[in-house]
């Protein structure tokens, strides 16, 4: 299969996702509003407590609203990369269209990525909507660093690697309903320990070791420092150990993380598919 034909399939799958998304117009609009509500609720709380909590956020520029809103936007993209592969494989399985792909001459790794591409594009649009809403609500960015985009990209790659790994657990562990253990742990620690809603100082110190588990932590830290005029005070455990510019350390960690997770994800998907084919774990046809 040539690259072009692969891309055509991917394009068609994305188009499909959009068609379904917008099929019921009222639901489509309600969905978007519902997603935005999370942001609005956090923004309202942040607005109400902006002045009082400012001193606690001096590392990240002191504005709680910008802090939390920026975190939510990043989280949208990152958690989508973690969740999309597993959930798209799961949906394809449960909607009984997985046979269509299994019988076709497509590379399994490409297949999983192409299936999740639809939700990735969709969530990216949501992230842009988030950004617009955030700007309307009062997000103020002090500088537009290209470095922050680099951090986002690295974080995205790392999360996609994790996503591929968790997608392969769908059939490796037969974790077909609910969630697989890997994605579950990542989601938990990204919500609790990565500093999404509140700075890490609120938590007991040992939680900062757990924070190192997820790529989210580094991305939030780097992006906030870069965009919100942050200082270079150490926060994460690695910052204390390595003693360099925190942003640089974050970027380095993300690079290492993404290399490892993408490689692992690739191999797990590829070999996992073979194992799944051995036991017919993905097929409904019986």
């Amino acid at each position: 299969m040539g690259l072009m034909s692969n891309l055509r399939v991917a394009y068609y799958l994305v188009r499909r996702e959009f068609k379904i998304w917008t099929y019921y117009r009222v639901n489509f609009i309600l969905d978007i509003i519902e997603v935005l509500i999370d942001l609005v609720v956090m923004a309202i709380i942040a607005l109400a407590s902006r002045d009082v909590v400012a001193p606690k956020l001096s590392v990240y520029g002191g504005d709680y609203l910008s802090y939390v809103v920026l975190g939510l936007i990043c989280n949208r993209i990152l958690s989508m990369a973690v969740n999309a592969p597993y959930s798209s494989i799961g949906r394809a399985f449960w909607q009984r269209r997985i046979e269509l792909f299994l019988s076709s001459p497509l590379n399994p790794v490409f297949l999983v990525s192409a299936l999740s591409l639809g939700s990735i594009v969709r969530e990216s649009i949501m992230a842009i909507l988030y950004l617009v809403a955030a700007l309307a609500l009062g997000l103020r960015v002090s500088s537009l660093g290209l470095t922050s985009i680099l951090a986002m990209l690295l974080g995205f790659t790392a999360c996609l690697g994790l996503g591929l790994m968790s997608a392969s657990l769908f059939y490796l562990l037969e974790a077909k309903a609910g969630s697989d253990p890997l994605r579950w742990i990542i989601n938990i620690s990204s919500r609790l320990f990565s500093g999404l809603y509140y700075p890490l100082e609120v938590l007991p110190f040992w939680c900062r070791y757990l924070a190192l588990l997820t790529p989210h932590t580094y991305v939030f830290d780097a992006v906030r420092r870069l965009l919100l005029n942050g200082t270079s005070e150490p926060i994460l455990v690695v910052h204390y150990i390595l003693l360099a510019d925190p942003v640089l350390i974050d970027l380095f960690c993300l690079l290492a993380y993404s290399l490892i997770s993408v490689l692992l994800g690739y191999f797990m998907t590829k070999s996992g598919f073979k194992i799944a084919l051995k036991d017919a774990r993905l097929s409904w046809w019986s």
Partner: protein
């Protein structure tokens, strides 16, 4: 030249059992399945050493009871399942070593609900997606899809979803999906299940003419014996993971039956008459009561049809029954099948 070569293929599945009461973590299937695998027991043997060859342009049929391993075999050839042992070759490509290259040469058409559609795309979109997967360009795939929909007679429903179709139309759609990729080898699971006689005839006619004309190789399974007889050049009979017989329909009939079938329709035939008929020199008797027992349809399979018919008429008439219909006919493949798996 052989289009498909299957040599000594083995396949077994881990058996899922009731694992007893659950734990706090639930039944945790994968843990138990892994344990079973490690212990090396609790397997279901689906294929136990299957070998055959299908030459190019041949129509090959696999029949057998439910659970004989037909589907597993089809899945193995269609690269949707990797066999434990053995060698499968499709158009000269080893399917285990080169799965993606082999898949380009095969179209697998499932049946019923597992037909492999995208249930939220319309018919034409489904076909386009399938075409794209086999490397067509967008415009090629589109024109091809429309053309094929015309062929299977679904063009006025092109913009409906598969869930709106009746079962027969769905079957035709999955066939259409099969024809779009134009691969040299086709695997079809029950091509006419759920079709009305007319529709089934159309599909059969299409397969018969088109496949021969294009020189495609076809392997299919079916439960309709007349279909196997009508379409297949050779038939393999499978039972419990093994092929027990391969041959053309005529060969199979010759091999298993040297006798004829008597169809009898009679009135007022009761248990005692049936018992007497059974004591005759017959291979098998099927009986079906109708009208609440007033009438009975008998199908007697025997090697000495004329003697048996004579005796049967005597028996029925002497017990105040009356015979309204009788026919001595050649056995069909269905009779062969029923002899083997009685």
């Amino acid at each position: 030249m052989d289009a498909v070569v299957v040599e000594d293929v083995y396949k077994r599945y881990p058996k899922y059992k009731r694992y007893g009461p659950g734990t706090a973590l639930g039944r945790a299937h994968w843990v138990m399945a892994t344990l079973y695998r490690l212990k090396g027991r609790g397997y279901v043997e689906a294929l136990k050493g299957v070998s055959f060859k299908v030459s190019e342009g041949e129509i090959f049929c696999i029949i057998g009871p439910n659970g004989a391993g037909k589907t597993t075999l089809m899945k193995c050839i269609g690269v949707m399942l990797i066999p434990d042992k053995g060698y499968i070759e499709v158009v000269g490509i080893d399917v285990v070593k080169n799965p993606l290259r082999a898949k380009k040469k095969i179209t697998v058409v499932g049946s019923g609900y597992w037909a492999g559609f995208d249930w939220s795309l319309t018919l034409v979109e489904n076909l386009i997606l399938f075409g794209l997967m086999y490397g067509y360009s967008m415009s090629e795939a589109r024109s091809k899809a429309k053309e094929i929909l015309d062929v299977v007679g679904l063009s006025e429903k092109a913009n409906d979803r598969p869930s709106k179709l009746s079962s027969g139309e769905r079957q035709r759609l999955s066939l259409a999906r099969g024809f779009i990729a134009e691969t040299p080898v086709f695997l079809i699971d029950e091509p006419t299940v759920g079709l009305d006689p007319e529709g089934a005839k159309q599909v059969r006619g299409y397969i018969k003419s088109e496949f021969k004309k294009q020189g495609y190789t076809l392997i299919f399974t079916t439960h309709f014996m007349y279909e196997a007889e009508y379409l297949a050049d050779r038939i393999a009979i499978m039972d419990r993971g093994k092929i027990i017989e391969i041959g053309s329909p005529e060969e199979l009939k010759l091999k298993f039956i040297r006798g004829k079938v008597i169809d009898i329709k009679a009135l007022n035939v009761y248990k005692n008459v049936l018992e007497k008929l059974r004591s005759l020199d017959v291979i098998n008797i099927d009986y079906f009561y109708r009208f609440g027992g007033a009438e009975v349809n008998l199908k007697i399979l025997t090697k000495k049809p004329y003697e048996i018919l004579e005796e049967a008429i005597d028996i029925i008439l002497s017990h105040r029954g009356s015979l309204i219909y009788a026919d001595v006919r050649e056995p069909t493949l269905e009779d062969v099948y029923r002899i083997i798996f009685r």
